[in-house]
């Protein structure tokens, strides 16, 4: 039907027809893909989302005397320097080395500040060689002073992504934002019908060398991104979960801070909001149909982030029309949604790229090769020593008590068994609460006699089918010394203490047998 060269000629002649992916959805719905393919030359897409796998290569230039930097810190954020003397790679997700600052100012913030023209402190350490004698540098840099500042993002623009929610009774802080307990909210990150790789799901036009909008300037796709996958479940041709990804590159010196933003996901870490827009040449009817996809036809899965495992349970399916309405239904209850990626800026990016093409400033490129559209799956990392499950722990017969038991008797149980925690259970053995020796001491000091008035009812628990590491994290998070192990019916099966875990870790470190 059409070729990229023909479209480029039209761009140069100033009579090309460019529409955004949202506009294309309406056009295809009204006139059908055949007519749309005849009329429209280019569809512009856009996304402005948190993309942790981003970063930049910086070349600082040589000092006199020269230095071979082996460690570099930019405003306190370490950049990887295992490259030649004065090259470094600053990763967006790197936290600050100052624990006081920690997650609040990381690699992403350095990148944003550089682009804004701010002065950045550079600290470099070296071991010293005959050709590079200097061992220490403290100076400041700006973007202008650098020889090169090249953004190279190994994984951007996920083609669709999981939608997050939380079944547990605790607040979770994740890369998908803050997740409220008991399915209290839902977060999603894809821009839906505007998202670049959703509009060309089999990469008919996108590949190595495709020129794109990247943070306000021209950038290039330099291949498929890491974790690129293709062999996944699809609906209307579009993956229902994370699949294809892009590796992109662009010159930071030409970027516009309006289309890039450093952020910190609370208690998770720094990340970079990256603005990407991919132009899709409408070469044929097939591509017109793909770019015509609507939010309603893009299916995605709501996943329970309350399960901190590689395979998280799917709660239900939804689509971007529902998600963008601000609420979805889970178990008959309306749950509010949050986009996480900026849909407003995604739309602006698609509009901006449209303008560039219309004004003849942006010519399309033919990719050297197309991104692979089959044969790719994401391999897991198998841990040589598999995680030990809570169930496998050696557990002594558990000592329990009942809500109506006398405080004195409970105190005796603690002392006789030399323990600090007693789960409180009902007659069926189902967990009701927990008391610690401290609670008992406190009760005696305050003259309380009934266990019911003393016990903690909201108990942090360990489930039998959880890896020990997950429980260790929970002990850390809540700063507690022990927690009861329960089965799927909340029946108490044992108790696990911080000591048990450290003993276990100690054994494993020594290479001994696991318990």
């Amino acid at each position: 039907m059409k070729t990229i060269n023909e479209i480029n000629q039209k761009i140069k002649d100033g009579d090309t027809v460019v529409v955004t992916a949202s506009e294309m959805t309406e056009i295809v719905a009204e006139y059908g893909p055949r007519e749309a393919a005849r009329e429209v030359d280019v569809v512009t897409t856009g996304t402005f989302g948190a993309m942790c796998s981003s970063g930049a290569f910086l070349n600082f230039g040589h000092s006199d005397p020269p230095i071979k930097m082996s460690r570099t810190y930019l405003n306190g954020v370490e950049a990887y320097s295992g490259l030649a003397a004065v090259d470094a790679y600053i990763g967006a997700a790197q936290p600050n080395r100052d624990p006081e600052i920690g997650l609040d100012y990381g690699g992403a913030h350095v990148i944003e500040d550089l682009i804004k023209g701010e002065e950045i402190e550079l600290l470099a350490e070296a071991y010293g060689t005959d050709c590079y004698p200097l061992k220490h540098i403290r100076t400041s840099i700006t973007l202008d002073k650098l020889n090169q500042a090249v953004m190279v993002n190994p994984r951007n623009c996920y083609q669709n992504y999981a939608v997050a929610t939380n079944s547990t009774d605790e607040i979770l802080y994740t890369y998908m934002g803050t997740l409220l307990p008991d399915f209290g909210n839902v977060t999603y990150s894809s821009a839906g019908e505007l998202s670049p790789l959703i509009n060309d799901p089999y990469f008919q036009t996108i590949g190595f060398g495709t020129k794109v909008f990247l943070c306000g300037t021209e950038g290039y796709i330099v291949g498929e991104g890491t974790q690129h996958s293709t062999d996944v479940e699809r609906r209307h041709g579009v993956p229902t979960t994370s699949a294809g990804t892009l590796m992109v590159k662009g010159d930071m010196k030409k970027m516009d801070p309006e289309f890039l933003k450093a952020a910190t996901m609370p208690k998770y870490g720094p990340t970079l909001y990256v603005g990407v827009g991919v132009p899709i040449p409408v070469l044929n009817e097939d591509i017109a149909a793909s770019t015509g996809i609507s939010d309603e036809d893009i299916i995605c899965k709501v996943v329970d982030y309350g399960v901190p495992r590689r395979e998280r349970p799917v709660i239900k399916e939804t689509n971007y029309k529902e998600l963008k309405s601000g609420k979805i239904e889970i178990d008959g209850v309306e749950v509010p949604t949050s986009p996480l990626s900026s849909l407003k800026r995604a739309r602006r990016i698609a509009e901006e790229l449209k303008k560039w093409i219309e004004e003849g400033e942006f010519i399309l490129t033919s990719p050297v090769y197309r991104l692979p559209s089959r044969g790719y799956t994401v391999r897991p990392l198998e841990i040589r020593k598999p995680s030990i499950m809570v169930r496998e722990l050696e557990s002594k017969p558990v000592i329990v008590t009942h809500p109506d038991e006398n405080i004195k008797d409970v105190a005796r149980k603690l002392v006789e068994n030399n323990i600090n925690h007693i789960p409180v259970v009902d007659e069926k053995g189902i967990l009701q609460g927990i008391v610690t020796s401290w609670d008992i001491a406190d009760a005696i000091a305050k003259g309380k006699t009934r266990l019911q008035d003393v016990m903690t009812r909201k108990v942090i628990i360990a489930r039998e089918d959880e890896p020990v590491e997950v429980v260790a994290r929970r002990i850390d998070k809540y700063d507690i010394s022990g927690l009861p192990i329960v089965d799927s019916n909340n029946r108490v099966k044992g108790i696990i203490t911080a000591e048990d875990i450290s003993r276990l870790v100690g054994k494993r470190d020594k290479g001994g047998e696991s318990i």
Binding site: T178, G184, K261, M265, T271, V335, L340
Partner: protein, 128 residues
């Protein structure tokens, strides 16, 4: 009207608010409270036909009433309209507008601060 009420330790034992509610036709909603033996402060929302009279009464009883003009504000330069805050608001004070901008309704906001803590770009300012 939203206001910070400040108490001196000398009146901490008095049931001034309940008296104000009995005396005057008002709705009284406590949004935040921090009370210690050394005094305290409360963020409240007072409304109803006798709002003015009730405030006068509360002041006469020795509580300092500092009306607040704003509870919360979005820093327009920093906010990227990602909407992470929207689903976290317990009173639906944060909404996505038609053009996908995020707006916070100061009138509805109760100042719980959960959005501010969870904002990836720290763009939400709470007024104390």
């Amino acid at each position: 009207m939203k206001a910070w009420l400040r108490f001196l330790p000398s009146i901490i034992g008095k049931a001034i608010i309940s008296e104000a509610i009995k005396k005057h036709n008002i709705e009284f909603n406590i949004l935040r409270a921090h009370i210690t033996p050394r005094g305290g402060k409360m963020l409240v929302d007072i409304s109803g036909p006798e709002e003015r009279e009730s405030i006068k009464f509360i002041e006469e009883q020795g509580i300092e009433v500092n009306p607040i003009i704003r509870v919360v504000k979005k820093d327009k330069d920093k906010c990227i309209d990602c909407g992470a805050c929207i689903s976290l608001c317990p009173v639906k004070a944060i909404n996505m507008e038609k053009d996908w901008s995020v707006e916070i309704d100061d009138q509805v906001c109760i100042g719980c601060g959960f959005c501010a803590k969870s904002c990836p770009t720290k763009s939400i300012i709470l007024f104390e």
